[in-house]
Each structure stands twice: as C-alpha cells, then as structure tokens.
C-alpha cells in the first residue's frame, strides 16, 4: 500500500516536472519570438490569439496591388502571394504557401532575387528578371523592401511587369536598326505599303525625285518608263507582282522625271513582317546612269576606232602607192615608206597615250623632229603658245612635220652643221585657222623640190580635208618657209 502510494507520488512528481519543463519551454519560446500565437482559455472556451500585427491587413493591402507581390520571411519562404503573383505562376495559394521563392522561380531569377532579400538592413536596387509565363517570355522588375510581419522581419517583394515596355523598346530598336540599314544603303531604297504609299525612303532615293517621297504615291513621285521587252508598263505592276509573291529583280527602267533623267535597275521584293500576307514592298533602284554613259562612250569609241583603223589602213595604202610611184629604187622606197609609217606611228602613240582626245602641238613636233635633230638644242627653236589639236589635225600635222624634217635633213637646214629651224606658233584669233610657221635658216642654198614627189603632196594636202586648212611652201634663199594653217575647229 505504501509502495503504491509512493509510486503514485513519484508519477505525479514526474508529471509535474514534465509540465514545468513544458511551461518553461513555452515561456522561452514566447520570449524568443519562436511562436506567434497562443491559446487562451476563458470559461472553458479556448481561443487563439495571434501575437503581433494581424496578417489580414497586409494581405488585403497586397491583394489590392496591381504588380505581383509576395510577403516572404528572411529565408524567402512565401507567407502570402497576391492574385497577380498567383496568376503569373498559375498556382493557387494552397500550393504556394510556405514554399521558398527559389522553389517557384527559375534558377537565374531566383538567384537575383535572393540577393535582394539577403540584407534586411539595406535597401537594394531593383533587379530585372525574365522567365516563361505559359510559354511566353515575360520581363519583370523585382524590388524588395523589409517589413514586419507579425513577430518576424520579412520582405515585401513586388514583381512589376515590364514585358510590354521591353517589347516596345525592342520594337523601337528594331525599327531604328531597320531605318539605319535603309539610310546607310548606298543604293536607293524605298518601302511602300500595299496602296503604293511610300513609308520609308533613304537619301539616295530622295535624290531620284524633286518631291519629298514619304507620304507620296510611288508611281507619282518616281514615274518610271520600262523598255517594251519587259512587258511592264508602270512601277505599280512591279509592286503588285511582288505582293503576289513573285519578286522581280534587276529590271531596267528610265526615270524621266528624276533630276538628270536617270537610268535605273529596279528590284522589288515583298515586305513580310508577319506570317500574314505581305504588308508592302521594298524597292531598290540602282543608278545606271554612269554605267550607261560608259557603255555609250565605249560604243562610240569602238565605232571611232573602227573608223580610224579603216582611215589609217587607207592612208598606209595611199602612202605605199604614192611612195612607190615617187621612188626610183627599192632602197629609196623602203627608206621613205618606213619613215612615213614611223611618223604616222609616232603621232598614233601620242594619241593613244592621250586617249585619242587631243595632243599638244609641241609634243607632235618633238616626236616627229627628234629623230633628226636635238629639239632642245640651239638648232631647233619653238616660239609661241602651245596648241591642243584634235586627232585628225594631229595626224596631218605629224605627217607634215615628218616630211619637212626629212627634207631639211636631206637638202635643207639640217643637212649641214650651221642651219637651224624655227617653229612659230601663232596665237588663236577669230580667224577660222591658226598658223604655224616652219622657217629654215643658214642651210645650203635652196632650190625648189626637183620634182614634186609624195612628200610635197603630203605637205600640201594633209590639211586640205577642211576649207580652212592647208599649207603654203616657199623656197626663200635663206631656207624653206612652210606656213601651216590648222582649222580652228580642230584646235581644242
């Protein structure tokens, strides 16, 4: 009996000790803030009292916020998430509550946000994060501010949706890049909508019209004429063709209304912005004016070359026949014929070097006379202004100088040691010709040409192609004087 009483007493003491321990632990937990609610009983009615602020107030506040918002404790555990946040992650509150933000957000975003809530004493700058929301990437600006939630310190984290702004900025940037590409293109680029109204045009395109392009109709601003072979009547047909899905490339056209009336190469491609039908047309116009001019020049030169070759062959044939008629021996023919062909070649060389445009009279003189005498020495003297001669006169004058020099070497001023030649170039006047005078001095006594051979013919006839061209040859006692009249039309 005694033993059972002692047993009961011991059990009671153990129970009391257990209850005291529990009471101490409870008090310590309350004091340390490890709990945030207590059960109180009054008249047999138990009731739960929440310590600290009522969480309902901040929940209601968060719920009214437009951005996504969550309340988290210092570990990032969700204490509440508002409707917008729940919508972002398509989860209801029962599935979100108590979860860590790092369990909900994708890794990179979670890492950035965890830095926001790692320093509760410092306000950190918002961070930009992006993640997929129902398969579509969305951008958020996330900021965190420390708050008191009941008995704890936590954070209010807001997610402001920047997606539309980011998209608008990306679209604006894309637009700027597209405009820069169009603007920096060397060729003319024009964009028009389906109604042919111009929406974009670069500087090179503006140069093709006297009007401002953007806002105008394409066919009115830059009317084009197409060669019959293309089967295209006007520029609108090009646009319509490309809108139907048939881009056209490198169609030659003429822009009669453009400054300088330009030849262009037109290409048209559909402007595809989305998967729908093309929203317009992109046209590029390559200016062919210079190329066409070059082609015409080349064509002209080819014809000119053909003409000159035929003339030269006829001249060579004539020189050959007339030299043969005037020379008595084969050696004489060889010497005269070679000399004349070389004289012709010398002028041709000079003309080829000058692109067959014009030649300096002094150059021609130098090329033809230098084989016989030092043109920069005392025996040869040139006075007067230089003249620029067109090819026809240059060849004729070259042959005349050759014949005069050959004659001077054989019989005239250059045949002895003391003779000299003076070439006087008279200035241009209103007269239909310019005179150049060849005067020989101090040579042996002059006789007229013993017989008027081909050399004389060359001198007297080479410039006779024009009524204002020709020569007069005088045999003065002091030496030969040849007055050469060059038609003014052949002087540049």
């Amino acid at each position: 009996m005694r033993s059972s009483q002692e047993q009961a007493l011991k059990s009671l003491i153990d129970d009391l000790r257990q209850r005291v321990t529990e009471a101490e632990e409870t008090l310590a937990a309350i004091r340390e803030g490890s709990v945030d609610a207590v059960v109180v009983g009054a008249e047999g009615q138990d009731e739960v009292l929440v310590i600290g602020d009522d969480v309902l107030a901040f929940r209601n506040f968060m719920e009214a916020m437009e951005p996504g918002a969550v309340a988290v404790d210092a570990d990032g555990r969700l204490l509440y998430a508002n409707a917008r946040f729940r919508q972002i992650f398509a989860e209801d509150w029962d599935r979100l509550k108590g979860k860590l933000l790092s369990e909900i957000l994708p890794g990179p975003a979670a890492q950035l946000i965890s830095k926001l809530i790692s320093h509760d004493d410092h306000e950190t700058a918002p961070v930009s994060v992006s993640f997929l929301e129902r398969g579509v990437e969305r951008n958020y600006l996330v900021s965190a501010r420390p708050v008191h939630l009941g008995t704890i310190r936590g954070f209010a984290v807001t997610f402001s949706d920047l997606t539309e702004r980011v998209r608008a900025e990306a679209a604006e940037r894309a637009q700027r890049i597209a405009s820069a590409i169009i603007a920096s293109a060397n060729e003319a680029v024009i964009v028009c909508d389906r109604t042919l109204t111009i929406t974009h045009a670069n500087f090179a395109a503006e140069a093709l019209s006297t009007e401002k392009l953007v806002g105008n109709r394409l066919d009115a601003a830059i009317p084009l004429k197409f060669p019959d072979a293309t089967g295209i009547l006007e520029i609108g047909e090009l646009v319509e063709s490309s809108l139907r899905g048939t881009p056209l490339r490198s169609i030659e056209a003429f822009a009669p209304m453009s400054p300088g009336a330009r030849d262009v190469l037109v290409s048209a491609a559909p402007l595809n912005i989305s998967d729908d039908e093309p929203e317009g047309c992109v046209l590029t116009l390559v200016d062919l004016t210079q190329r066409k001019k070059d082609e015409r020049q080349m064509h002209l030169l080819m014809r000119e070359l053909d003409h000159r070759v035929k003339n030269t062959l006829a001249l060579v044939l004539s020189i050959s026949k007339r030299t043969a008629a005037s020379e008595e021996t084969l050696e004489g023919f060889q010497g005269s014929f070679s000399g004349r062909i070389e004289a012709l070649a010398a002028t041709h060389n000079l003309l080829a070097g000058a692109s067959w445009e014009s030649l300096s009279l002094r150059q021609i003189f130098g090329a033809e006379v230098s084989p016989y005498a030092e043109t920069s020495g005392d025996r040869i003297n040139i006075t007067g202004p230089d003249l620029s001669l067109y090819p026809r006169a240059a060849i004729a004058v070259g042959l005349i100088f050759h014949e005069l020099a050959t004659n001077a070497t054989k019989y005239g001023a250059l045949s002895g040691e003391a003779g000299s030649i003076n070439l006087e170039i008279h200035p241009k006047t209103d007269a239909p010709s310019v005179e150049v005078t060849w005067t020989e001095r101090d040579g042996p006594p002059v006789k007229s040409f013993s017989r008027k051979g081909f050399g004389h013919t060359v001198i007297s006839r080479s410039l006779s192609y024009s009524p204002h061209g020709g020569t007069t040859l005088e045999f003065e006692p002091t030496g030969v004087v040849c007055r050469i009249q060059i038609p003014i039309s052949d002087v540049a």
Binding site: S34, V35, V39, V50, G98
Partner: protein, 94 residues
C-alpha cells in the same frame, strides 16, 4: 505516401491559420521529414484557428507546436522548427 508501421513517427503539428511561424513550421517539417525520414512519417496539421478546442488534447499553449505521438513518450517541440538539429534530436533521428 508515408505508411504506418512500427517505425512510423506520428506527428501532429498545431498551427494558427497562416501566421508566418505557422507557415514556416509546416514548410520546415515537410522538408525535414522528406529528407531524413522518407516513408517513415505521418503528419497531421491541425489549425487551431478553426478548431481551438483541439488544443486541449495535447495541452497546447504556444503555436506552432509539433507533437510526436509515436513512438512514445510524447514529445513537444515549440516554434517554427527552423532549428533542424533540435527537431531531428527530438524525433530521435540522430
């Protein structure tokens, strides 16, 4: 799904609605059990905000409180269970 057997910890967690400590206690308990007692636990969460009278069974005063009913003797851990070592010792896992 945890099943009941001789080694099963029968755990009752008393919470007060969705107070920060209650949510933390639920989250911590689920994580600790998942990581350290896989398949060996049974959790019952009792919301005393809804049923305050259920506090009497285990004489609950502070919330949150975790009660280990099995294996006996009963153990109580008061707080949000953020001290993992303390929880594991009381659940006799280590």
């Amino acid at each position: 799904m945890p099943t009941e057997n001789a080694n099963t910890r029968k755990l009752t967690l008393y919470v007060a609605g969705e107070t920060p400590k209650s949510l933390a206690a639920i989250s911590n308990l689920e994580r600790i059990c998942r990581e350290h007692l896989p398949g060996k636990y049974q959790i019952e969460v009792i919301d005393l905000k809804k049923n305050p009278q259920l506090a009497r069974e285990h004489k609950i005063v502070a919330i949150p409180t975790l009660v280990r009913e099995l294996p006996i003797p009963i153990r109580k851990i008061i707080g949000d269970l953020s001290d993992e070592q303390k929880v594991l010792i009381n659940l006799k896992v280590e």
